[in-house]
Amino acid sequence: MSKPGLAAQAASAPQLVTFRHGRVEVRGRDVTAPLILFTVAASLAIIANPLTNGVFFTGNNLTNLLRQMTTIPGLLSLGMLFVILTGGIDLSVGSVVGFSAIIAALATVQWGFPVWAAFALGIGTGAFWGLVNGTIIARFKLAPFVVTLAMMTLIRGLIYVFSEMSVSTRDFPAFTVLGSALVFGIPVSAIIMVGFFILGAVLLNLTPLGRSIISIGGNRETVRLAGISVSRGIISAYVISGICAGVGGVLLASRLGNIQPSLGSMFELDAIAACVIGGASLAGGKGTVQGTALGVLILAVMNNLLSLRNVDSYWQWILKGIIIIIVVLIHSAGAGKRGQ
């Protein structure tokens, strides 16, 4: 059966801007999600200074904000996006952050690795855990939620096997350089994060692998029949998530200088939240790197504002929960009308 309203689309498609079903379209491309995000981000920017008595837009605070958002939600959300695009979810990223951080620290402090090798090892273990997640999920066709939930506890347990106590790297100045260095007032770690987002956008939009990852979430069977390996796409997505968590873990370790075995707990939630705020659909197949970047920014600015206002952390959680629900509601307002 044909979709009614086709004639209208035929007539309206060439127009520059159209409003239909509560969605805004430019040349037939749905731009509702980015518009919402820009509005939210802009509103935050406008209220930021009055709300914080002018503290928000100071060099110190902005540097701090950038540094804090690098790993969480920053890099974790980027990796999470690829997994979410396939229709999956990666609950293990928080544990992977902790694992990579502790391994990098132990390698430097106890095993005598040079710092660069320790970092590489930390990132490598992140990729490894991504490979394990992806392989189990793709080969045995298990639910990503269950597999990564299991891996979350498994990896957390392993962290304590390696070190029951926190590891201090304060005697190794080289270890802390990456996390604290500034270039023209901008944290190096944030520059690395931005680099990863650019790489992520290129990967998603300009490579067959990226398009196949987003297509798998849209319709796995169609992708399979198009001669594309679904397993390869899924495994790649989890490896990307693992690498992002690994890099995030190493940068965080470098910034903190003292790594607790509990580091990274609950990080997966903010990572997922930033993706969802950025317009990604947990059903898969929908989401952009730009959107996720804005989601990261919104979440980070919100955290920062609430801290500057000295809002108690439990009130921060409550507010964050409310805001996530509101943004997602706005995203879905028009989307509910699509299709049958």
């Binding site: 059966m1 009614p4 309203g5 086709l6 004639a7 398009r211 069977e221 169609t222 992708v223 029949l225």
Partner: protein
């Protein structure tokens, strides 16, 4: 008059889909509604089902104005609708599906014994006693699922029953039981609104035939004197002469040979060859194993035995990727579930099967899309960024075909290319198939439409119960002969 529609209009955005529907119908009749894709049938059905609100106009039932507040309201007021897409819960039993929301209880707990008895009674009363009320839906054949769906609609004792393409997935004896049921419902005084693309069945079954075109009824025909041609002409609004192009005369050497292909439980020992520039159709009843066969040839299912050779070399086509590399393309039967990514853009869908290498060329992808949309005259202009679900069925089909033509195939497999497609678009598809064959492509076409399978093809392979029972030159065979092989008439 039991059901009266006056001036029903409905618009989506700027498009007026229904432009004033007027209808008067009495109980105990079968009223057929036929029309081309996009004529407004779905919208009309949805309005009667309470699934979408009418724009303007009046619906009266039993002389009183009817204001439907939603699907439940429509059911409560005696209008039940069975949609083409089945709405059963696959993991639950027939009993639970039939009595959803009205399961009998005892002491606040579900009384399963009473429920099963009630379900059995319902099935028996509509003549579907053959359906096991304890079976899980997903384990039933499509035909049986359809029976459950209709039985479910009858639970609430409707006065008006709307059937949307009830025969689309049925064949053989299942069709006969459907027709018998419709006649029985009519005898019970139910008004049946019957929507179908199968014109012959409409002529056999209906008391009145209404032709819907461009959102309004353009004619009413008397089935006792009307003909299929007359209906097609009215639906299309013009004479479609020569729907089927002439058969091709020159063929190249065999491009693909299938030898002894077997997949346990689905089909066995299938052998045939396909020549260059030939249109070869595979006919059979639903469940004969045709889709399974072509999917196996394409590498989407693993063969248990046998060989597929493309060109001179025996190729192991155990993945779609290998099949594509050997020049095969498969347009599957089910656009929505296997052909398209509905939530992605036309552009993404068209370029899906041709993504290779490390980086994509955006310019090449854009020009691919533009060329294909132009070549296949996809209707809405500049629809590149529109999501595919927004397009009509015919245009969606063109997007799938575009995707596969971009892979530059030498063998194009079409599984039910015209299912649910109206006559005018069919003719367009047939022309395109003929053009491609003239360019030297070989076409393997699975079809349940007897006329199409015989008239469109150069040769017909007939399958029954997973076996290839006959190969016929289309030019010297007629439809009755082909059908007889398909249902086993020539067996003994």
């Amino acid at each position: 008059m039991s059901l009266v529609l006056r001036g029903i209009r409905k618009s989506y955005g700027f498009a007026e889909v229904l432009r004033g529907i007027d209808l008067e119908a009495g109980y105990g009749r079968v009223l057929a509604i036929v029309g081309a894709n996009g004529a407004g049938k779905s919208t009309l059905i949805k309005i009667l089902a309470g699934a979408v609100p009418k724009g303007s106009g009046v619906i009266e039932m039993d002389g009183r104005p009817l204001d439907l507040q939603g699907p439940h309201d429509a059911i409560r007021k005696g209008i039940c609708t069975v949609y083409q897409e089945l709405s059963l819960v696959p993991g639950l039993t027939v009993t639970e599906n039939l009595l959803m929301g009205v399961l009998p209880t005892r002491y606040g707990l579900i009384d399963w014994r009473a429920a099963r008895a009630r379900a059995k009674e319902i099935l028996a009363s509509v003549g579907f006693g053959a359906v096991d009320e304890t079976a899980v839906i997903s384990e039933l054949s499509i035909a049986k699922q359809q029976m459950v769906e209709i039985a479910k609609a009858l639970v609430s004792k409707p006065k008006i029953l709307v059937l949307d393409e009830p025969s689309a997935v049925l064949s053989g004896s299942d069709l006969d039981s459907l027709y018998a049921l419709v006649r029985q419902l009519r005898a019970r005084g139910i008004l049946v609104l019957y929507v179908s693309h199968r014109l012959q069945e409409v002529l056999d079954l209906a008391d009145r035939i209404l032709i819907l075109k461009d959102g309004g009824f353009v004619a009413e025909l008397d089935p006792s004197v009307a003909t299929e041609d007359e209906m097609i002409t009215l639906m299309a609004g013009r004479q479609i002469e020569a729907i089927y192009p002439d058969r091709r005369k020159k063929f190249g050497p065999p491009v693909m040979t299938v030898q002894g292909l077997t997949r346990a439980g689905e089909f066995e020992n299938i052998s045939f060859s396909l020549r260059g520039g030939e249109v070869l159709s595979i006919f059979g009843l639903v469940g004969a194993g045709r889709s399974e066969l072509v999917e196996t040839i394409f590498g989407a299912r693993k063969a248990d035995g046998g060989l597929v050779s493309v060109g001179d070399e025996a190729a192991v086509l155990d993945t779609p990727a290998k099949a594509i590399n050997s020049g095969l393309a498969l347009v599957t039967e089910d656009r929505k579930h296997t052909g398209l990514i509905l939530g992605h853009s036309v552009h993404e869908n068209i370029n899906l099967a041709t993504m290779r290498g490390l980086m994509l060329s955006l310019a090449k992808r854009r020009s691919n899309t533009d060329t294909m949309l132009e070549n296949l005259s996809v209707m809405p202009k500049r629809c590149n960024n529109m999501e595919v679900w927004q397009l009509s069925g015919g245009n969606q089909q063109k997007v799938v075909v575009s995707k596969w033509l971009l892979t530059n195939p030498s063998i194009l497999i079409l599984d039910e290319p015209t299912r649910g497609v109206d006559m005018a678009t069919r003719a367009e598809i047939y022309r395109k198939i003929d053009e491609l064959a003239a360019l030297g492509l070989s076409i393997l076409m699975v079809s349940s439409d007897l006329t199409e399978a015989v008239s469109m093809a150069d040769r017909v392979l007939v399958m029954r119960d997973g076996r290839l029972v006959k190969e016929l030159a289309a030019a010297d065979s007629d439809e009755e002969e082909v059908l007889a092989y398909a249902i086993g008439g020539y067996d003994q």
